[in-house]
Symmetry: C2
Subunit: 139 residues, 2 copies
């Protein structure tokens, strides 16, 4: 068993395959972490959220990271962090496109069902403009 850096290709594969990550941001000078579903298009990361603490934090400090892992047990895991900048997406066409692609990857709901749910709630869609991806593994 040894801990080491994960190569770029392996790190990007984890981001591409995942649907659930933990978003880290800074809220009033404190770290803040929440689970989110996301979609990575190979370049940027897309997330949808409801208004609340996470969105308030990101609007006031756009530095954000998304951590995604594959954990078999405490001594066998891979974890990736993508760092980037928060960008809210307001154009309706782009939003729809992103939500459709995101929902198509989530279990248990068809895109239409999910869209109906989200539409009623006032979902906000944002992009993490990815600047750096790093990965670690213990295997």
């Amino acid at each position: 068993m040894s801990i080491g850096k994960l190569g770029d290709e392996d790190s990007l594969a984890i981001l591409r395959e995942g649907i659930l990550g933990r978003l880290g941001c800074i809220a009033s000078g404190w770290p803040y972490v929440v689970p989110v579903n996301y979609f990575f298009d190979g370049k940027d990361i897309y997330v949808h959220t409801l208004p609340g603490k996470k969105l308030d934090a990101l609007r006031s400090n756009p530095r954000v990271c998304l951590q995604v892992d594959k954990i078999k047990d405490p001594y066998n895991w891979r974890s990736v962090i993508a760092y980037g900048t928060f960008e809210e997406i307001s154009a309706e066409e782009t939003r729809e496109n992103i939500l459709t692609r995101m929902y198509s990857r989530l279990p248990h709901m068809t895109p239409v069902e999910s869209r109906l749910v989200e539409g009623a709630k006032g979902t906000v869609v944002f992009r993490i403009k990815v600047e750096e991806v790093t990965g670690m593994a213990e295997e």
Copy 2:
């Protein structure tokens, strides 16, 4: 399906039952998130780590959070955040005691096996002095 705050009792139960959380800290002005195994004694949280980016970050900015969740699917989840202050533990007796309690809750390894592995690696043990716990749920 609705999203709302989780009560204190339910939030503390998730912290107590969990063994895996995502630790959030601030590294050079950026949010930084890593998966960690932890132990919550009802008051504070204990974590062990190797020297590296996480420890450097915590030593220079002790504001830290631990996020723990139970996720059934994208629309059924509970997530808790404990906020607190990083405190490194140097007393050997306390360290041993904490590591033994922590390992006894991890799968796949006996405490003795785990201690042998960790002892060789130069593990650092620290406490998150918990100041606030908040929880959210969608159920």
